[in-house]
């Protein structure tokens, strides 16, 4: 499926930027505040002069008033490291869901690149599958689109192994967005905790579709797990179907509660909702975009 967006939608995206609830140090100058003091334009603090400091940063007004040499410190404004981790396991293979996930990833990439954030796109299933080199600037967006268009879903989900693999490599701490259905037999909580423990500001985008929430059949049915190929014969009565629906809702609520408890942003994206509404409304309401 092509991931090109309409021009007017792209313009709308340019007005948005990814919200990070913490400040992270970047590599290049940009317009994100960082915890570093440096050559920004916004005054941050004073410190005593020490030999070797640049005389141009001495606050002469303070010297005249206090008779002490103080240096003026400014906030360093740099780019924000954004890690976009996309679930490409077989459970995401359902076209509606996978398309939504890819379009969301594309939109977030565009927003990040437009604001000169340093964006890294990763995919995972049983482990990290693909990782693009970090980049910034809108000029990279077409490469991202091509990459997303070529992606295919397959393999089982193991978020824990994937996050461990993510953590095993040296990276700058930054904003990490996981787009997934979080249908992980090992549980999504361990993986998310790992990312949180590393110090990342983590956002979970929970992609769902009708096929996830509804059994889709009544009577005797042989269900096949898309990831493992496991078969299970079931006699789906309306009562059982209802129980399944409740179980799914409980699963989603449990994930949302977990994210709330650990300070992880959580946004649910249903494939049945219009895409623009998810990006422009749901993400903003979830304080993920501003």
């Amino acid at each position: 499926m092509p991931l090109r967006f309409q021009d007017d939608f792209l313009k709308k995206l340019e007005y948005l930027h990814v919200v990070s609830r913490r400040e992270f140090a970047g590599q290049n100058r940009a317009d994100r505040r960082t915890p570093k003091r440096g050559r920004g334009i916004e005054f941050a603090d004073h410190r005593p002069y020490t030999p070797g400091d640049d005389f141009r940063h001495v606050d002469w007004k303070a010297y005249r008033r206090l008779n002490r040499l103080l240096l003026r410190l400014f906030d360093e404004e740099q780019d924000l490291p954004i890690y976009l981790i996309l679930d490409v396991s077989a459970s995401m293979a359902e076209p509606e869901k996978f398309d939504l996930a890819r379009r969301l990833a594309a939109a977030l990439c565009y927003i990040g690149l437009a604001h000169l954030d340093r964006l890294t796109l990763l995919t995972f299933s049983r482990g990290l599958a693909h990782e693009s080199s970090p980049g910034r600037g809108k000029g990279r967006i077409f490469r991202v689109f091509d990459l997303l268009e070529r992606m295919e879903a397959g393999g089982p989900t193991d978020l824990r192994a994937s996050c461990k693999e993510f953590a095993s490599r040296p990276r700058q701490i930054g904003l990490t967005v996981i787009i997934s259905d979080f249908l992980d037999k090992g549980g999504a909580d361990v993986g998310l905790k790992i990312l949180r423990t590393l110090g990342h500001d983590v956002f979970a985008v929970h992609v769902t579709s009708h096929a996830d929430r509804d059994p889709g059949a009544l009577g005797d049915v042989r269900f096949m797990d898309a990831e493992t190929g496991e078969l299970r014969d079931l006699e789906v009565t309306p009562r059982l179907a209802e129980a399944y629906g409740h179980a799914w809702e409980a699963h989603a609520e449990e994930l949302a509660r977990f994210c709330g408890r650990y300070g992880i942003g959580y946004v649910r994206a249903d494939a049945e909702r219009p895409f623009e509404e998810i990006v422009l409304k749901a993400f903003r309401q979830g304080r993920f975009l501003a």
């Binding site: 059994p215 005797d220 269900f223 096949m224 014969d233 009565t237 309306p238």
Partner: protein, 594 residues
Amino acid sequence: MTFGAMAAWQAWLLVLGAAAAAGGLFLLKVRPPRVVVPSLLLWTRVLDESRERTLWERIRRAVSFAITVALAIALAIALARPARTLRSPAGGGPAVARGRVLIVLDSAWSMLARTRSGETRWERAVAEARRVAAAASGSDVAVATTVDGVIEGPTSDLTSIDAALDRLEPGGGTGSGWPRLSGAEVHFLTDGALARALDPSVIVHSVYESAANAGITAFAVRPGLDGTAAGEAYLEVANFGPSQQVRVTVARGGTAVLERHADLGPGEALREVLSLARGGAQDLRVRIDAPHDALAADNEAFGWIQDARALTVAVVGAQPGWLGPIFSATPGVRVNFARPADYHAGDEDVVIFDRWAPSTSPAKPALYIAPPAAAWLGQDSDRIESRPQWTAMPAHPLLAGVDPLTFSIDRAHVYAPPQLTPLARSAAGTPLIWIGDMTGRPRTVVLAFGPGDSNLASAPAFPVLIGDALDWLARPPAVDVHRTGRASFDAAITRVTGPRGAAVPLLYLSGQRVAVLRAPGLYGEEAGDARASFAVNITDPDVSNLARTTISASHPAVAVSAGMSPRAWWVYLVFLAFGIALLEWWTWLRRITV
């Protein structure tokens, strides 16, 4: 238990096999449709939760399995046609000895009388017959009726006995005589309406139950005696119940000719004589309606007015006037005279050719008087016998009442028609009267002498001969049949049709044509090209009087109680299977909806 369709071991094997097959099919899972889901994670979670299962959910599969097996067993047993082996008189079933059993059902019309329980005596008798047959299971059983004789068996196959009992129906009281089956124990199921001399060994099962009834006990039509009317009808309606008003309707064709409401006391009868005018329809129908009337079969009677329609005769000849006075004195005959050049075959019943003959034999019954030479007559040219003398007259309807001595014949033509038969000959052997009576061809009479050759015009026997000839040519022999049951017919009758137009089988028995007339109504008969109708009625006081029976204490009878007709087991088993299938269907629905 015995089985009608197969040996017991085969039946039980079938039952076991069916149960095993049904159970196996139930347990053999049909591959369900495959649905790919993103993950079984949530299904596993749902199923692993300790869901509270209802009692129905816990037993439903077992119930469904049991129902499936029961369905297979019921159908398998039904297929094997089971029968009970009841042999306990004390238990209510009829006592039947081992050996052959002959079940005779009384075919009298009174057996159609309704009892207080709503069933007819006949239905009660059939039910008892089934019980007797079931009690004699394993023995050879035969079923007979008093009108048809033995109609099924002897056989040990109760299925065929059941089937025979299903197709039986009353057909009048008398028939071929008492059915016999050597060495058999005879069970006679009767209401005793008609008296019968029974062997003391016959076990009588009485289905008699007194009932009030009004019925037509007599209805007959006879020709008019004064020549002005076509005939007259005699009607008798009797009341064998409490005082009641009986409505009597007599219709001729579609027109009512009598409608009366008669108040008849117990045992009283209404008697009417109806004059039937000439012209109009020939069929008569009587119907009565009464409030206390247990037997419907005797509420209707039929009559046929033979002389209602005038016989049409065409006389063809150059000088046929000499025949005029003869026909003018004959009632019921309409004559048209025509010259040979003007004659065209019309709708006349009979043609008389006076000293003239067409080149081919006509398609109508015809009387030829001294016809001239014709190829089909095979006349030996110019051969004439002078002053022939009659010899002994054979017995034939054509010559009934004809005195040949009144004929004075000067000369007779000598014919040799290949398709005709000489009826009367001269002393020298010359045929004087020829007749043709071949199946599928119209009847023919040829007189070898004419008015110019004899005193035919003035002979006293000639009007009788003409009358006989017209009757023989156009009217088949009268049938002396008034009742249902077995009837004998004249040898000339070639076809008998029933009230609905269907042919009644004609049999040759002991040199007679015999047919069984099963239902009252108007029947038709054909002889050559002549057709006639006759009425068959029940009209029997012994049948209509449902308050009497000939079963007496001298011949004790087993009283048959009212009750539903016991059907063969397999019928109930099929119903049971249907019910079980419904139950299984409901179970399936419950599976889907609960």
